[in-house]
């Protein structure tokens, strides 16, 4: 176990919106950190300074309405501000799927991720569609629109390095999108208890260069179908 395990620094992320998410996290970390230090510090200070001493009586004081109004307002302002700055990023990540994103279907099932690509014709439900298991492949610097489905129970598509998480619900087709900013191999995980094999629903997210992705997709499309 190293000191970095105790770190409140987030692991690196590689998507277009991950910087925004992480920034909000750090803002909250600073704000709550300061509040933490002040309140716990005051607590400890009071415990030391006002501990029982023979002959000293407590001050008979019922509170201060003015002080209450001040700290209530301050708390409300801080909390609402944090909420307001969060809204924009949330809308971007969950609602605003970019135009022209590459579409794939990810179907979660006990205990595998079925990833369906539309093939060269770009349309689903045709003969050139192909499916891979537990792997998502995508090109770098291009938005990807995942149609997230489930066949049996709730699962949750978790792409930690893209800061993506979305529950997969049977009977629904839920849009999930991201745009990777660096090539590499990343994690695909399931983040919703889905049964006995929940722990094994791991997969790989591979971000290729545009050329490599084309090559991969072409080879897959030509693979003999079962």
């Amino acid at each position: 176990m190293t000191w970095s395990d105790w770190s409140w620094v987030l692991p690196e992320a590689f998507s277009t919106f991950s910087d925004d998410v992480d920034l909000i996290y750090y803002v909250i970390l600073w704000v709550t950190g300061i509040i933490f230090v002040i309140t716990e510090g005051v607590l400890i200070y009071f415990l030391v300074k006002y501990r029982h001493k023979e002959g000293r009586k407590a001050t008979y004081d019922h509170g201060s309405t003015k002080l209450e109004i001040v700290w209530t307002t301050a708390t409300l302002v801080v909390c609402l501000a944090l909420g307001i700055v969060s809204k924009g990023v949330w809308d971007t990540m969950k609602i605003d799927v970019p135009e022209g994103a590459m579409e794939i279907i990810v179907t979660a099932q006990q205990f595998e991720w079925h990833v369906t690509y539309p093939g060269p014709d770009g349309a689903f439900g045709t003969a050139d569609d192909f499916e891979v298991l537990n792997q998502i492949h995508a090109p770098v610097d291009e938005p990807v629109w995942i149609h997230l489905r489930a066949t049996d129970v709730l699962h949750s598509l978790f792409l930690p390095e893209m800061r993506v998480k979305q529950d997969a619900v049977p009977g629904r087709d839920i849009p999930v999108w991201f745009e990777a900013t660096a090539t590499g191999e990343y994690t695909v995980g399931c983040a919703e208890l889905c049964g006995i094999g929940h722990t094994t629903m791991n997969g790989t997210l591979t971000i290729h260069t545009a050329a490599d992705f084309q090559a991969w997709a072409t080879a897959q499309a030509q693979r003999p179908r079962p």
Binding site: Y25, L29, D61, V169, P170, L193
Partner: protein, 605 residues
């Protein structure tokens, strides 16, 4: 003296309904209707379940600290839980899922809730408002005796084929609708039936508490003279009354899905899985306030008393309790940000969730304000109450992270959430329970708990508890998911194994340390230092009667002249001034109470 005895006798006679002769053992200790005995019944049963819940957590932590390793001594467990391999007994993933589920269920429904609401609700409400018992003593008895079979069914579910429920304490559908998904068949149904029965237990209790507080307050006990412990239990009872029926409805719908082929929550037959989540969390969020409000009330009592100072901002404290209770109904969607519900709802629930941080913050600042320029006695109840405040600060602040919807995308269903919930439920509720039990132990048993042993238990618990749960924030930030049998299956999580082991070892230490509390508790019942009526020099009404109080509580109907937190008042030579002590100048217009009829000499309040 004889005049007083005669007064007591005539007062009891005037009470009417009481038995004047000894009631049989079975009516006194088993099918009791006296609220104080029912409180103790809840306490003993709940402490037992607290131990069971802790044991389940210990087993979970073993698997997380030593994934896939044979568990020493586990050979005695059946093959359905621990697989016999040539190397020893290895935990099965389905048993791990059951442990996760049952640890949460038992701790929430059979330990924390009955301790806070069953023990403290029953013990304190009649005594603190000056009533002889609850409004409906027999209904009170029913409340306890409904909880017992519920608990037995829950434990029995471990023994059936397929094992105990394994879909999480939140029992999300469709996973929970069928054994083909979980491997759990009868166990999942027993879970549902048990909680439905327990729901009835809570409901009748809530009816009792609300009626009692509204109707049975002694003269002079106006709403804003009620101690915060009773206030918090009153607001909690309203939440129970309104929230439990929703849970019961959802449980029954799920039971039907499992047994008679309905499809409320199964999309393959036209149902909607998200409906379960909405119903569950519409109950579930008020539920978590049910689990914290009484703890806040207890903390206020202990803090004010041990600091010998009025609670800072009593009226705001009451308003904050009510606000939390009210706002708690409109934040449930923050458990469902990633669920697939409309993202526009994400924003609205985020705003309401940020808003509910405010009354909790007010309470925290007021507790700090109570300590300012106080006269702080650091005995065991105070240490636990201070822990509540400091740990609740951490739990509350960590909640801000998940209230922000985009940050929640990353930390939802990770150990960051597990850290948050344990900071509020253990760091918060459980420490408050320790504070409350230690503080009111003399009132229940007539003896003090052992102070030095209590301090050792506190210090070790506090240290080990933080070493177990604080690192979980970091585990979550690194991406470790919840409810995961073997996180080492994920390459990116393998480096977290040493930290998990660290947590596990201290978890074992934390669980072991609780033996000190058990020893202290049982030893003190018979060997503790004898306590008088008011060992803590408190102002509230329960401390004006003997320890333990007799049946009927008050020899004479008490009269209340002031609020409950008049510590270090200039009106008193002591540093406390009980609510029932008549003012020096006689009850004037300021007390709001008419002149009492002249009392016979020698009869003191």
């Amino acid at each position: 003296m004889s005049t007083t005895e005669k007064d007591i006798a005539s007062a009891v006679d005037a009470g009417g309904q009481h038995d004047h002769h000894e009631i049989p053992w079975i009516r006194k200790y088993v099918f009791a209707t006296d609220h104080k005995m029912i409180a103790k019944q809840f306490m003993f049963v709940s402490l037992f379940f607290l131990v069971v819940g802790g044991a389940l957590a210990g087993m979970m932590r073993f698997q997380l600290g030593f994934p896939g390793q044979p568990m020493p001594g586990a050979g005695i467990l059946p093959d359905a839980m621990m697989a016999p391999t040539p190397d020893g007994a290895i935990m099965l993933p389905e048993f791990y899922n059951s442990l996760v589920t049952m640890h949460g269920t038992i701790m929430i429904f059979f330990a924390i809730m009955p301790l806070l609401v069953g023990l403290f609700g029953n013990l304190l409400i009649p005594l603190q408002i000056g009533a002889e018992d609850m409004a409906f003593p027999r209904l009170n008895m029913a409340s306890f005796w409904l909880a017992v079979p519920a608990g037995m069914l829950m434990l029995a579910s471990f023994a059936v084929e397929g094992g105990a429920a394994g879909a999480g304490w939140t029992s999300y559908a469709p996973l929970s609708t069928s054994g083909e998904w979980t491997g759990v068949y009868l166990g999942q149904q027993l879970w549902l039936v048990s909680l439905t029965i327990l729901g009835f237990s809570s409901l009748v209790g809530a009816v009792n508490y609300i009626t009692t507080v509204i109707n049975m307050r002694a003269p002079g006990m106006t709403w804003f003279r009620i101690p915060l412990a009773t206030w918090s239990l009153f607001v909690t009872a309203v939440l129970v009354l309104l929230a439990i029926p929703i849970l019961a409805g959802a449980l029954i719908m799920l039971l039907f899905d499992q047994t008679i082929g309905t499809g409320f929550f199964r999309s393959d037959v036209g149902g909607e899985p998200l409906l379960w989540q909405h119903l569950f969390w519409f109950f579930g969020h008020p539920e978590v306030y049910i689990l914290i409000l009484p703890a806040m009330g207890i903390t206020s009592e202990v803090l004010s008393n041990r600091a010998r100072k009025p609670i800072f901002g009593y009226h705001s404290m009451v308003l904050a309790l009510i606000s939390i209770g009210f706002l708690g109904w409109i934040v449930w969607g923050h458990h469902m940000f990633q669920s697939g519900m409309n993202p526009l709802l994400g924003t609205s629930f985020m705003i309401s969730t940020m808003a509910i941080a405010v009354p909790s913050a007010i309470k925290t600042f007021n507790w700090l304000g109570t300590l300012w320029k106080a006269d702080i006695h650091l005995d065991v109840p105070m240490l636990h109450a201070l822990s509540f405040v400091s740990m609740f600060i951490i739990g509350g602040l960590s909640g801000i992270f998940m209230a922000s919807t985009p940050v929640d995308i990353y930390i939802h269903d990770t150990y960051f959430i597990v850290a948050h919930l344990h900071y509020v439920l253990f760091g918060g509720s459980l420490f408050a329970i320790f504070a409350g039990i230690t503080y009111w132990f003399p009132k229940m048993f007539g003896r003090m708990m052992n102070e030095p042993l209590g301090k050792v238990h506190f210090v070790l618990t506090f240290i080990f508890y933080n070493l177990v749960f604080f690192p979980m924030h970091n585990l979550g930030l690194q991406g470790m998911m919840r409810r995961i049998y073997d996180f080492t299956q994920y390459d990116f999580l393998q480096p977290l194994q040493p930290m998990n082991q660290f947590i596990t070892l201290f978890a074992f230490a934390l669980i072991t340390t609780q033996v000190l509390f058990v020893i202290n508790f049982f030893w003190s019942i018979s060997k503790g230092e004898k306590a008088g009526n008011n060992p803590w020099h408190s102002n509230t009404l329960e401390w004006t009667v003997p320890s333990p109080p007799p049946h009927g509580n008050f020899a004479q109907m008490p009269t209340v002249f002031r609020g409950p937190y008049e510590y270090s008042s200039p009106e008193s030579d002591d540093d406390f001034l009980p609510q029932t002590t008549p003012p020096r100048d006689g009850p004037g217009p300021s007390s709001g109470v008419p002149e009492p009829t002249p009392t016979p000499e020698g009869a003191e309040a």
